[in-house]
């Protein structure tokens, strides 16, 4: 489904990603772990098309389509969803209006009929129940005045609404208490289907108690240095990242 080959990217001339290779198949959940500053969030941003990063070489294909040639909005319409580490506040823009615009833009791109207001509200109700999000959140402006936990839940809600092929969750667990973590993880698990895939970026093993990955990668210094099954998370939890740093020191 997703195929990344020798991806290199830099910011202001400084290389951050130094040759990433990654294959994700439909129905899989991959976790990307690694110490701070290893390039995890950069990878997420580059996949979503953030322009401050310059892609210097490599290839990223989603179902055979070259993502790197597409605008951020077209990538989203094709089915790339990024759960932001720090979701952005947009004062004055209601969640309903925001989501309706997004859902219909995506439907338009995929050649589906636009949703009427009543169908849209129905969809919204269903998805709210699915991800156990507080009804009031969707009556407010996008992320405005939301607590850290509410923002993260709101990301999962948006993911449910947009039904992406590839969801990339960037440190979705950071700043969450245990209840919020459970809700977020349950949401992700419920949205898992044989025809979509999820990449979970996390610093801690904690989230992986709830979202069980098929594959774990360790990203260090802009490269994937280790790939293994879910047992790797426990090893990292126990030993920390120091041994990785030593083993793969530049």
């Amino acid at each position: 489904m997703l195929s990344i080959k020798n991806l290199k990217a830099s910011i202001n001339g400084k290389p951050i990603l130094k040759g990433i290779n990654l294959e994700v198949k439909p129905g899989e959940v991959h976790a990307i772990m690694g110490p701070n500053g290893s390039g995890k969030s950069t990878l997420a941003s580059v996949l979503a098309g953030r322009e401050i990063f310059e892609v210097t070489s490599g290839e990223v294909l989603l179902e055979g389509k070259n993502l790197l040639e597409m605008s951020p909005e077209d990538r989203a319409r094709l089915g790339v969803f990024l759960g932001f580490q720090y979701p952005i506040e947009i004062p004055g823009v209601s969640m309903v209006n925001f989501m309706k615009t997004a859902v219909n833009e995506i439907r338009k791109y995929r050649g589906l009929p636009l949703l009427s207001s009543s169908d849209f509200l129905k969809l919204m109700r269903e998805k709210k129940e699915l991800v156990e999000i507080d009804s009031q959140l969707t009556n407010r402006s996008v992320n405005e005045g939301f607590s850290g936990g509410e923002k993260k839940k709101n990301e999962i809600f948006q993911m449910a609404m947009l039904e992406p092929k590839l969801a990339i969750l960037d440190e979705t667990d950071s700043g969450l208490d245990i209840d919020a973590l459970r809700i977020v993880a349950n949401g992700v698990n419920k949205l898992k289907r044989p025809d979509n895939a999820t990449i979970v970026i996390t610093h801690y093993q904690r989230l992986l108690d709830y979202i069980v990955p098929d594959v774990i990668h360790v990203l260090y210094n802009g490269q994937i240095v280790k790939t293994a099954g879910k047992e790797l998370a426990l090893e990292l939890e126990e030993k920390g990242y120091d041994w990785i740093k030593k083993e793969y020191a530049v």
Partner: protein, 482 residues
């Protein structure tokens, strides 16, 4: 990043002013220049009674001694008042029995602007007075309104048919000595709308005037007077457009509102005069004096404006809260792009007891434009229990524009409560990216954000105009964010 931003901002130039066409029509146009003779010609073309001419001449004498004000935060090249045509009216039969007698070209022009003069094709429940250059073309639904005793007609007609009301109220809120542009207007005003709502009548439909400048080198000087008698209510809308021209054109209007005991007037404007091209060439100079008086107890006046057009805007819709328990509101969205300049705001004069005013101003600047809010809240000594709340927000798009706020507060009664809040924000690249990541294009993201920002004001507009205004905001700012 910088390059990206410049690129996007430069795309604004693709943004076409949709109303920039010109109608070929036979006009009755007088020679350029301003003199006592010209004032007399205008008055005689309008078949005005003697008292009107006298008033015009008094104003003209007074104006000759006045100087153009220069306190606003605007850069305006010198205007040659002798290089302007002061009267140009489309030729048509003086009295029209039916819609069929209107010149088809004129009808087509207003159709193109989305203003049907044909009552069969009515805008949902809106009566329209259509004014082109110096003359009113047609007022719709006049007869239906007359059944309720409502007078809705052109100013020229009111001067001839309702001289008592004109004598009593014209110039009663904005006197002929008021300011340079208002005084000029008194001397040479050509047409405009007149509304009288009788005691206890709630006007059943929106009244509206649509102003169109068509002729070249012509100034437009219209005058509107609305009187709401005791216990009455009226909602009034004003819209305006002009053809694209390289040369600047002058527009100096006066609007007066009079609300008597327990009456309410709601006045909404969607101003979309030609703003000039991307390099700041051409466009309308818009110098407007708008003032209302809550003359007697419990009266209420509300101004709502959406200002997107004009090269220069100089406009301060104001309120005199004379009666006790009167209230006034001012809601404004002013958008400037490219080289547009706007200096706009309001004045609230608290005179009576228990008076309340509320100001909500939302400025949006893009391109190289300058956008200023200028407001005065004045509480007089005997205005016990006066209350004002002001909110002035500025939104910046790009790095080359300016937003300025000049709030003046003068309070002579120590019980008064006056509050002022102000914010300045910028549409961030991260907000745009967040929207992009959800499948929303940059253009649509700006539309969502700007409309969200202006929502409090847009909500004040009658439904069909709110939709129109929303689109207008988006078009005015197309592509102006990086």
């Amino acid at each position: 990043m910088e390059n990206e931003q410049d690129k996007i901002i430069s795309e604004v130039t693709d943004n076409e002013y949709k109303y920039g066409f010109f109608t070929e029509i036979e006009s009755d146009t007088i020679a350029k220049g301003l003199s006592e003779e010209v004032v007399k010609i205008i008055s005689s073309r309008k078949n005005e009674p003697e008292f009107m001419l006298e008033w015009r001449l008094k104003a003209f004498e007074y104006w000759k001694k006045m100087k153009m004000p220069n306190w606003a935060h605007l850069t305006i090249p010198e205007i040659d008042y002798q290089d302007i045509i002061y009267y140009s009216a489309p030729k048509q039969n003086a009295e029209l029995a039916s819609i069929d007698e209107i010149d088809p070209e004129l009808k087509a022009t207003f159709d193109r602007l989305g203003i049907p003069l044909d009552e069969q094709k009515k805008l949902s429940g809106v009566a329209v007075d259509a004014v082109m250059d110096s003359a009113s073309i047609k007022t719709t639904f006049k007869e239906n309104l007359a059944d309720l005793g409502i007078i809705f007609c052109s100013m020229s007609e009111a001067v001839r048919e309702h001289p008592d009301l004109i004598k009593k109220y014209l110039g009663s809120v904005v006197p002929y000595t008021d300011n340079f542009f208002a005084t000029l207007n008194c001397a040479v005003f050509s047409d405009g709308s007149f509304v009288y709502i009788p005691k206890g009548v709630r006007c059943p439909m929106e009244l509206s005037t649509y102003f169109r400048i068509n002729a070249e080198n012509t100034g437009q000087f219209e005058r509107t007077l609305i009187i709401a008698d005791e216990g009455s209510y009226v909602s009034y809308l004003e819209g305006c457009t002009a053809p694209k021209r390289d040369k600047n054109q002058l527009h100096a209007a006066v609007v007066e509102l009079v609300a008597l005991k327990n009456a309410e007037i709601k006045y909404s404007t969607v101003q979309n005069w030609y703003p000039g091209d991307k390099n700041g060439k051409g466009g309308i100079y818009n110098f407007v004096t708008k003032r209302g008086i809550c003359k007697e107890d419990n009266a209420k006046i509300s101004w709502t404006q959406v200002e997107t057009g004009s090269a220069v805007t100089w406009k301060y819709p104001s309120c005199i809260l004379k009666g006790d328990n009167t209230s006034a509101e001012f809601y404004s969205v002013a958008v400037t792009n490219n080289y547009q300049q706007a200096d706009t705001g309001t004045k609230m004069m608290h005179i009576g007891k228990n008076t309340k005013s509320r100001i909500v101003s939302k400025g949006i600047s893009a391109g190289q434009s300058q956008n200023s809010y200028r407001g005065l809240v004045k509480v007089l000594k005997n205005a016990e229990n006066a209350r004002n709340f002001s909110q002035c927000d500025s939104l910046l798009l790009g790095n080359n524009c300016g937003a300025h706020t000049f709030p003046y507060i003068e309070v002579d009664n120590k019980e008064a409560i006056v509050e002022h809040e102000a914010t300045t924000s910028r549409i961030g690249e991260d907000q745009i990216f967040y929207c992009n990541q959800r499948g929303i294009s940059t253009e649509d993201a700006i539309g969502l954000i700007v409309n969200g920002y202006a929502r409090e004001v847009l909500n004040q507009l009658p439904m069909e105009f709110a939709v129109e205004a929303q689109k207008l905001l988006q078009i005015s700012l197309e592509g102006s964010v990086g």
